[in-house]
Symmetry: C2
Subunit: 205 residues, 2 copies
DNA sequence: GGATATACCTACATCGCTGTATGTAAAGTA
DNA sequence: TACTTTACATACAGCGATGTAGGTATATCC
């Protein structure tokens, strides 16, 4: 068969990744064979094995190509020394919802990570990465809520640890419910309203 | 081999189900073979095929044996005509968290449904059942929050639709985070505090 | 107490999927 | 231009899992 140029090879690689993303999302990771992916990408399994060591490597390339919402959230909220940490976090959270609602690829990849793969031995590293992202998120949020409390910005009704858990739980629940149930509500609109309501409660004196 | 009595057969069936639960939870549904289950249960694959048509039927028997938290929530909250619907729901939600925190079997089954199975073609009915449970939950909660608003019990800050979404998202987020991350916080304690904080906000005038 | 259904176990046949080894034509390189 | 490397395709070998057919010994029923 004809050897293609470098650019064409990169295109092939992307076609494989795209096909894998679609099929993983539609049928689940374990239930998708490399043969199916190859067919959908218009190549043979040989091409896949050329670009990726095996299915796990392909899966890894897929989820390493996108940023998780948790990572997004942390990166933007980590700017320390803010005079209004709660306001900042509220803004960042709403932006995060809006961003996810607009980026279909990340929706699919995140949905795959959430629902379409059981974390077996080798896939477990994907879970580990999420754990890590969550851990740093928790650490940052803990600092942030503690700061807010110290500055008298947090309602005494909300111990920092509880507020932090409530916030992360709500964010996770919004992502999960929206992705799982065919995006059947307005994530950017209603979701942001939920977050705003919660933060109003955080600030109430 | 010796045929066992009816009671013994039922015991065998339960041993198979228990082994499947453990292995599905530990390794994922797709990555668990009937041979592994049989070995863990101390029988051969023949016994499994005697009691269950195939792996899907075994999986179905597993999740049909337990009630989902959503179903729990709805059933208890559906008692109409309550003078304090918000108080009732708050109580029910906290009870629900407490119940889940105490029942290890339901934790495992629910975790399997959430994380350990990709919803392929035949397993999809499990997802369908969850969808149904969620739909009735949403319907009931919508009525409940609408009632609360009509009776002036709901803060004007919280439109009923937003409040309902915020509540379900928080509950889902609590379940998910707790089950996913090795139960690394006190679901009954901190979780209930989160719910209570939210409901205080719901009621604020 | 004999017939029959039950509750398994054993053995086998099959099949899809994986991984690898080999082939090959074009692109790059000196 | 000769050689090498790249980017695949093709072919093959092997395994693990599934489903089923057939055997067997014991409960259960009449």
């Amino acid at each position: 068969m004809a050897r293609s140029t470098k650019a064409a090879a990169e295109k092939t690689r992307r076609r494989i990744l795209d096909a894998a993303e679609q099929l993983f999302y539609a049928n689940g990771v374990a239930q998708t064979s490399l043969e199916q992916i190859a067919e959908a990408a218009g190549v043979t399994r040989g091409a896949i094995y050329w670009h990726f060591a095996d299915k796990v490597a392909l899966f890894r390339a897929l989820y390493e190509g996108v940023r998780l919402p948790q990572e997004d959230l942390v990166e933007q909220a980590a700017t320390g020394g803010n005079p209004d940490p709660l306001g900042l976090l509220e803004q960042v959270a709403c932006d995060c919802l809006k961003t996810l609602a607009a980026d279909q690829q990340r929706q699919r990849v995140f949905a795959i990570l959430l629902f379409r793969c059981d974390y077996l031995g080798e896939m477990a590293e994907a879970l580990a990465r999420q754990n890590e992202a969550d851990a740093t998120m928790h650490a940052n949020l803990t600092r942030l809520f503690a700061m807010a409390e110290r500055d008298g910005l947090l309602s005494p009704r909300w111990p920092p640890a509880v507020a932090e858990r409530a916030f992360t739980a709500m964010m996770r629940g919004l992502w999960v419910d929206w992705l799982r149930y065919e995006r059947n509500f307005d994530l950017a609109g209603v979701g942001s309203d939920c977050v705003k309501g919660l933060f109003q409660s955080f600030r109430a004196r």
